[in-house]
């Protein structure tokens, strides 16, 4: 029922998008870099419109947000179905299907990340459906990292040759799945609070990466050892970790390479489904907040004018620079770190990098290809720059984003041909393709700053409205 309502609302966004008129004369091209004169611009006919306004751009951005979070919700629901099948009928096949569903669910979600860092629903939506302060939103529950998997389930006694413990018997216990005393109830309502276990924020026990860990297990080598050089395989969790007496007839439950009580596999399945349910609920809430015309954030955002435009650009800049170039890639460059990667269990970090880069590009081009292949598009920042008399800057921005995408594609391709990101960064981080992504992201951010200045959207930020706060 909810699904069909969403679809109707999404369809309505296409109408909002189109804002072109007949088009005016194009602007003369500048001299080419090789000394060849640029071609004179031709008359605009169906090209960039001249009447794009800030409000149009902001509306497009809001409509794409709704489409992206809806896609994230749909694919998370499909993931939920696959997980239910795995738990009801555990086998290598259903485990593989569940892993595929997880990977598919990451595709739309990671593309939403440019909606972070701007006080939007993902960062500020409260459980009661209102917008609170930055950091109070569900982002941590949905996508927090690193996971601290030792709190959730069994872990290897040795990871990358760094451990004092010597056998499974000496490994620590107390993780949520094995600790029936302190955690008797693993229902979604209880699991949702695990992110703030012990009354403290940010104890990561939920979200995509918790599901990832429960599907793949720790990323050890193919032989299951945690010693020696990290190889190209992802986590090796066996399907028998979900075998229960009720699904297989006899007690064949395991915790990795050791047999476990039937109850452990039951609880593992229960925990998995609860985490997935929390994820679905959170994504539903974020999508609702962006629902055109009715969403609590949508209505405020589309009326925000320059303030909202500034938020779009701030999100683009912060994701490009601090998040992606900085913490997802530069940290590896700076520290030679072997496992500082986000999707560390599944070795899917190359997609995180690629899709984050794409997320920034989408904010600029105002065009998003949905999971079902349809396209949501409308007035873009690119259009606005041209209308504001900045066609060269528009072109520079477009080129910078494309350069980033080209270099991110190299990392994506390397992973698909046998060199995942964690292996890539072990091979010496000075390799040109990794450095290129960082350099391109930094250059892209410089251009975003120029766009912010050109569109003159900083005024609201600089002038603090202190009057109402005095006293």
């Amino acid at each position: 029922m909810k699904k069909s309502l969403l679809a109707v609302l999404v369809a309505s966004t296409f109408i909002l998008g189109a804002c072109s008129d007949d088009g005016d004369d194009g602007i003369d091209g500048i001299n080419g870099v090789d000394g060849v004169d640029g071609v004179a611009g031709s008359d605009g006919t169906d090209g960039v419109s001249s009447f794009v306004t800030v409000d149009d751009v902001v509306a497009t951005n809001a409509n794409i947000a709704f489409a992206m979070y809806s896609d994230s919700l749909f694919t998370a629901q499909e993931l939920m179905t696959a997980l239910e099948t795995l738990v009801a009928n555990p086998s290598e096949a259903t485990l593989a299907a569940a892993r595929e569903a997880w990977l598919a669910s990451r595709e739309p979600y990671v593309q939403t990340e440019a909606y972070r860092f701007r006080g939007g629903p993902i960062d500020a939506l409260l459980d009661d459906g209102t917008i609170g302060e930055d950091g109070e939103g569900p982002e941590g529950r949905i996508n927090a990292w690193p996971l601290g998997e030792a709190l959730i389930d069994y872990v290897a006694v040795e990871v990358d040759g760094d451990s004092e413990a010597t056998s499974s018997e000496t490994a620590v216990t107390g993780n949520i799945i094995s600790n029936t005393t302190d955690f008797p109830d693993l229902s979604p309502t209880v699991v949702a609070t695990f992110n703030e276990l012990d009354g403290d924020e940010r104890n990561v026990g939920t979200g995509y990466h918790a599901i990832e860990f429960l599907l793949w297990g720790q990323d050890l080598n193919a032989d299951g050892s945690g010693s020696g050089e990290r190889d190209a395989t992802a986590g090796q969790r066996p399907a028998s970790d979900y075998f229960t007496a009720s699904t297989t007839g006899v007690n064949t439950c395991t915790s990795g390479d050791v047999a476990a009580a039937d109850e452990i596999c039951e609880r593992r399945g229960e925990y998995l489904l609860s985490v997935a349910q929390v994820l679905v609920d959170d994504l539903q809430a974020v999508a609702n907040a962006w629902a055109p015309e009715v969403g609590v954030h949508y209505t405020e955002f589309v009326q925000g004018g320059d303030t909202s435009l500034a938020l779009i650009l701030e999100g683009m800049g912060r994701l490009s620079f601090g998040e992606l170039a900085g913490e997802r890639i530069n940290i590896a460059l700076r520290t030679d770190s072997q496992e500082d990667e986000h999707s560390c269990f599944s070795d899917n970090t190359h997609r995180d990098i690629f899709l984050d880069a794409q997320s920034v590009q989408i904010m600029y081009t105002g065009s998003y290809t949905r999971v079902d292949g349809s396209v949501v598009e409308g007035a873009s920042i690119n259009d606005l720059l041209v209308v504001e008399g900045e066609p060269e800057l528009a072109n520079t921005m477009r080129a910078a984003l494309e350069a980033t995408m080209a270099s991110a594609t190299v990392i994506d391709t390397l992973a698909n041909t046998g060199t995942p990101f964690d292996v890539l960064i072990q091979e010496g981080i000075t390799q040109p393709n990794v450095v290129a992504v960082i350099v391109n992201l930094v250059e892209q951010t410089d251009v975003i700053e120029q766009v912010i200045d050109a569109l003159n959207v900083t005024t609201n930020d600089i002038r603090q409205d202190t009057e109402e706060n005095l006293g």
């Binding site: 006694v157 601090g322 900085g326």
Partner: protein, 470 residues
């Protein structure tokens, strides 16, 4: 050049001492950028986390990379993300940002029996300055990682909880307007390792703001020594005294400029100390675990974590330091407007500047070129002052006695109010407004407080407007 700020500060002190009318010096354009080139380019609507304007792009990348280490929670070892584990075994909080939200202070604690995070409890001696609590160590850590093992002998438990309650103190300004101050009382309860040593008291500390810390690190020690006036030889009722502390790496005795009582001499040591004591992440400056010998399960859990070498290696601490040094100071807001300028005059006239030294110029020799030689406006002398009985914790920390606190910088105060739903000022966050913070001043701050109480409403408001604009 760098002496200028000091000379100016001295001049002010002299004027005060002579008992003449203390006018503010003419307004200088540089006051609009309190961090010099390390002022943030823009005023953000909601966060202090922005690099200073003078940081070039590629360096700023390291700033943001460091920020991720500041923001992300540390996790329980062992984990796949080895560079991010090692939490505890006993700890106050999991991440830097949970206590320094948006680079400012943390969320205030509620009344009642709580597991505090942004409000830490130092365990300091009443009289014997070398005494450390044999069971709890120097800091109270209410949380523990939830892991256990049969061989540990005992279940690993946090150290206990804090009972926090407030009572109201009523008062009135000279013009009759009433005010109310919130007086906290603290008690450690549900202690899991027995009673505290009888010679040990509790000193509550609310996490301070972190922006501008690099600039404070860059002030030349000689500029502080020039301000020192332990015996109040200039007879102005103010005795600037600097805590002398040992540098944890070199063993040298230095001036302590960081920490609410000036426990740490350098920013790196302050940050490393917070990693160790607040999060349980050891490092090359503070190796070892947070457990005392009597906390056996804690020691065993630490062994089982299996970390060889420091839990935050220097390569990562360096990134956190890039972040910590380069976080920009927000530009002044509406400082040039009339009412703020009236407040500025009152700030000088009331003697606030005797401790809240307006300006320094950072050392030309400071190792970080982005921070050296900057004219800055922190409004603090970073010295210890007797703040009276009302704020006293009655415990010792090196040379700091129970009445003494280090002057906090005032830059960016107004934005702290904007970014949080409930503002918190003073060392334990007891004051909800700037007026309350002023009214808590006693001891060496008594005279200035009395001046504030005797102002008419217009002047009191103007002073607060000034404080919110710097």
């Amino acid at each position: 050049m760098k002496r200028k700020g000091v000379i100016w500060a001295c001049l002010i002190l002299c004027i005060v001492a002579c008992g003449e009318t203390k006018h503010a010096p003419p307004f200088d354009e540089s006051e609009l950028k309190p961090g010099g080139e390390m002022t943030s380019k823009r005023v953000s609507k909601r966060t202090f986390v922005n690099a200073g304007e003078g940081i070039p792009s590629m360096a700023e990348l390291n700033f943001w990379t460091g920020f991720s280490l500041f923001r992300d929670p540390w996790v329980t070892a062992p984990s796949t993300t080895k560079d991010r584990d090692g939490l505890g075994p006993l700890f106050n909080t999991r991440s830097c940002i949970s206590c320094h939200l948006d680079g400012a202070r943390g969320n205030a604690e509620n009344e009642g029996i709580v597991l505090p995070s942004a409000l830490i409890i130092r365990l300091n001696p009443f009289e014997d300055r070398n005494l450390v609590d044999p069971v709890y160590g120097g800091q109270f850590q209410p949380r523990a990682i939830p892991l256990q093992h049969a061989s540990w002998g005992a279940k690993l438990l946090g150290e206990g909880k804090l009972k926090l309650s407030y009572s109201e103190i009523e008062g009135a300004y000279a013009d009759g307007e009433k005010y109310s101050l919130r007086k906290p009382s603290y008690e450690l309860v549900e202690l899991n390792y027995g009673e505290l040593h009888k010679g040990i008291g509790i000193s509550p500390r609310f996490a301070p703001v972190i922006y501008g810390a690099g600039l404070i690190d860059a002030i030349d020690e000689s500029d502080f020594i020039a301000l020192e006036d332990v015996n109040d030889e200039d007879n102005n009722g103010i005795s600037a005294k600097y805590n002398r502390v040992q540098d944890a790496q070199t063993g040298e005795t230095r001036i302590g400029r960081f920490g609410l009582k000036g426990l740490h001499s350098t920013l790196r040591q302050q940050v490393a100390g917070a990693f160790k004591n607040d999060i349980g992440i050891n490092n090359t400056i503070f190796p070892g675990d947070v457990c005392t010998e009597t906390q056996v399960a804690c020691e065993k859990a630490s062994e089982f974590g299996g970390q060889k070498g420091p839990e935050i290696p220097d390569k990562l601490l360096d990134l956190v330091m890039d972040f910590s040094r380069w976080i920009g100071v927000p530009p002044a807001r509406q400082l040039t407007e009339g009412v703020a300028q009236d407040g500025r005059e009152l700030f000088f006239k009331s003697g606030c500047v005797n401790c809240h030294t307006p300006s320094f110029t950072t050392s030309q020799d400071y190792a970080d070129p982005y921070l050296s030689g900057q004219k800055i406006y922190p409004y603090s002398d970073f010295a210890l002052h007797d703040m009276g009985e009302g704020l006293a914790d009655n415990t010792l920390e090196n040379d700091a006695n129970g009445n003494e606190w280090r002057t906090p910088p005032l830059w960016g105060l107004g934005l702290q109010i904007n970014y949080r739903s409930s503002a918190t000022f003073l060392h334990d966050g007891r004051a909800n407004t700037l007026s309350e913070a002023i009214l808590w001043h006693g001891g060496e701050g008594e005279q200035s407080k009395q001046a504030f109480i005797n102002m008419n409403k217009h002047d009191r408001d103007a002073l607060v407007v000034f404080l919110k604009s710097i």
